[in-house]
């Protein structure tokens, strides 16, 4: 059976007197329900939380603290369908952020978890043998090993040269609804402040996503909350960029529903 999609009219249900918006909204809710079900199935897979032993309270002054919920979601998403085709060799990853502290923290986390770093296990430059052994044990050939960090606004300096060359985009935008002025802050709030409807940064990213994704197989996974009006986002992506967006997985996280949206070419 074909998946529900708000933009596809489905047989026999067009003449029931509902206006188009209601119809779209109804089918979007149906998609969300499917995404919740997928989320439940996936809870059987154990989550791998990266070690954060290197972190301290000082870090969380400047970097949004990683929560178990976020990481479980991320790993699950990889399990769901990326695992077979996108793990192992042949991957190169670029991570970008406006916040230099977040990038340094991510770099340290990657090193501590054996995802990046020097591969030679006999390397004698490391003072602490125990630590070194820990890292080696954690290192797993299935992990990403070529990861680079760039301090920039979304993917701005990459747009010209990576046009239609990016296979996968993972985007956890600042989605919390705030005043528009809050997104121009200089501190931790820029990690979550999303402006009106939490959409300011998300809307600015759409053009970049459309520019970067390979055709026809590129995929973008983006986190949204319901305040972002995802069904409206889906319509914008469809009409302006010929991209389709479907909720892939959805789960309650304390006071909000987080949804992983999957964006692909029509």
């Amino acid at each position: 059976m074909a998946e529900w999609h708000p933009l596809r009219s489905y047989d026999g249900e067009n003449g029931n007197g509902m206006n188009e918006d209601d119809e779209k909204f109804k089918s979007w809710n149906q998609l969300n329900q499917l995404a919740i079900d997928k989320g439940k199935i996936m809870t059987t897979a154990p989550a791998i939380m990266p070690t954060l032993d290197h972190s301290s309270m000082d870090d969380y002054q400047h970097v949004y603290e990683p929560k178990n919920e976020n990481h479980r979601r991320r790993r699950q998403r990889q399990r769901h369908e990326d695992r077979s085709s996108y793990s192992g060799t042949g991957i190169s990853v670029i991570a970008t952020d406006l916040n230099p502290f977040a990038l340094q923290f991510a770099q340290r986390t990657a090193e501590e978890n054996g995802i990046v770093g020097i591969e030679d296990e006999n390397d004698t430059n490391d003072d602490n043998d125990n630590e070194k052994n820990n890292t080696s044990r954690r290192r797993n050939n299935n992990y990403i090993q070529k990861i680079e960090f760039i301090e920039c606004n979304l993917a701005q300096p990459l747009l010209n040269r990576l046009e239609q060359k990016v296979d996968i985009i993972l985007f956890n935008p600042p989605y919390v609804p705030t005043e528009d002025t809050e997104i121009d802050g200089n501190d931790i709030e820029i990690s979550w402040a999303g402006g009106i409807n939490g959409r300011k940064i998300i809307d600015a990213s759409l053009q970049q996503i459309a520019t970067l994704l390979t055709k026809p197989d590129g995929i973008c996974y983006m986190i949204t909350v319901d305040d972002n009006l995802p069904h409206e986002l889906s319509t914008i992506l469809h009409n302006d960029y010929k991209l389709q967006m479907i909720p892939l997985m959805r789960r309650r996280a304390s006071n909000e529903y987080l949804t992983v949206q999957k964006i692909t070419w029509l």
Binding site: T89, G90, I91, S92, K146, E148, Q156, P157
Partner: protein
């Protein structure tokens, strides 16, 4: 910052016609050997800009190199490409916009490409 990443970075500072390729001024460059991954190099090849890579290699070697127009890529060429793309890291230094000489600092291997409001 690997040379692979350098290959994808462009300066869009206001006033620049073509801010590419960025000139590399490395004050701390390290080589970290990693295991050969032919699969990865082959995947990356169609995304690369060769003249920019040659320029980058010249920047870090600080000498003139000869352009290699050989399209028949042997394992040894893949190995050489793997070395330059993945094993050479610019830890400290600068990326310089060829159009405007705007300098983008590299610290702890992370280039800062953020443009100020009046530069966009």
């Amino acid at each position: 910052m690997r040379l692979l990443t350098h290959n994808f970075l462009q300066s869009n500072v206001r006033g620049t016609v073509d801010g590419y390729p960025l000139k590399i001024e490395g004050t701390n460059i390290v080589v970290e050997n990693s295991s050969m991954d032919s699969n990865l190099v082959r995947k990356v090849l169609p995304k690369l800009n060769y003249p920019a890579l040659v320029a980058a290699i010249n920047d870090i070697r600080n000498e003139e190199g000869e352009e290699d127009n050989n399209n028949n890529i042997s394992e040894s060429v893949l190995k050489a490409l793997h070395f330059f793309l993945f094993d050479v890291h610019v830890i400290e230094g600068c990326l310089i916009c060829p159009g405007t000489d705007r300098r983008f600092p590299i610290k702890d291997g992370i280039p800062n490409m953020i443009l100020h409001e009046d530069e966009v």
